[in-house]
Amino acid sequence: MKLNLQAKVSSPQDLRAITLEVRQYAQWFSQYSIKKRVSSSKSDAPPPMSETGVALIKELTDSKQLSQAGLDELIAALENLETTSPRITITLAAAAPNSLKKTLVAWCREQIEPNILVDFRFNSTLLGGMVVRYGSHVYDWSFRRQILAARGSFPEILRRV
């Protein structure tokens, strides 16, 4: 089963949360199917789901009828994505606002990999810019790094003032 992650599912935590939601939904659906077969009484309401979870279930039911096998397949696909998707960690100087997160995630999925998972962190000592860790590489594009790297040119700049 081929899945395309939505923009809201950006980080591994988001993906795990969605997988958990779908798993709970599958559990409820299993109980609902059994109760439906043995009695006509009303069963419990489905568990509350996020928009993303709802959209995933809807996407699944668009192509074929909702079944336990289809839900298991969706869970397997989500778990597979969690283990195989490339991950990138972006550390910013402050907690990233949603708009910035969307922008960066969109860029990563367009330019690097469609299902890449982006983990956002923050460290106030960076002052600005970002530190990107991908695989075994760390790219430090923080302001702190740039200030420290340009420290040798401060006296020259001050002499010109």
Binding site: P86, I88, L92, A93, A94, A96, P97, S99, L100, T103, L104, W107, C108, Q111, I112, E113, S124, T125, L127, G128, G129, M130, V132, Y134, G135, H137, Y139, W141, F143, R144, I147, L148, R151, G152, F154, P155, L158
Partner: protein, 209 residues
């Protein structure tokens, strides 16, 4: 050297003449004051005295004595005159010789003094040249050390200044972070290094594939 030889010859001749004169004077004096005694056994020549009167004999004797006295006085005068001349010439020669010796010694002294002066000047020149070289070298060394010290101090000041400015910037900027305004910058940075990420993805996908 020629003057010395001449002086020696002249002195020898003078001494010889003086010797001759002294010998003549002594002979005459001896003959006068100690007449020769005639031996008794020998036959005496016939004496004319016996035939001369006493007055003549006395007159002859007196005349002889006068002449001998005159001769002796002349000889003494001449000898004194010669001695005076000789003494004067000797004095002149000694004076000339002394002058020549003194001049020669003085000339030699001057030559030695000049040579020593030249040697001293040469030595002093070498010493001065060595001192100039050492002074130049010392000056260059001091200048070099001062320059190194100066550069070291400038470097230390620059380092402290850099630390101060860096700390100031870090401390100041830490409290004014606006990520919203950095979105374009962050995207641009990612775009700039897009090739690195794509290559990284390809490298990670290769062993899995």
């Amino acid at each position: 050297m020629g003057g010395g030889t001449f002086l020696q010859i002249f002195l020898l001749v003078d001494v010889f003449i003086m010797g001759v004169l002294v010998a003549v004077a002594v002979r005459h004096a001896n003959a006068h004051f100690r007449p020769a005694k005639h031996e008794a056994g020998k036959p005496q020549p016939a004496v004319a005295d016996e035939h001369l009167p006493t007055a003549v004999k006395e007159h002859l004797l007196k005349t002889s004595q006068d002449q001998f006295q005159l001769m002796l006085e002349r000889s003494i005068g001449q000898l004194q005159h010669n001695l005076g001349d000789t003494s004067e010439q000797i004095n002149n020669l000694i004076k000339n010789l002394a002058t020549e010796v003194v001049s020669s010694e003085l000339e030699q002294y001057r030559a030695n003094l000049g040579r020593l002066h030249a040697q001293a000047e040469k030595d002093l020149g070498g010493i001065k040249q060595a001192m100039d070289g050492y002074q130049t070298e010392l000056r260059a060394q001091v200048a070099q050390e001062l320059e190194a010290e100066k550069q070291q101090l400038i470097k230390q000041i620059d380092t402290k200044l850099s630390d101060a400015v860096g700390s100031f910037l870090i401390e100041t900027l830490q409290h004014n972070v606006d990520l919203g305004s950095q979105a374009a910058y962050l995207t641009a940075v990612l775009e700039e290094h897009k090739a690195d990420f794509i290559r990284e993805v390809a490298d990670e996908a290769q062993p899995a594939g």
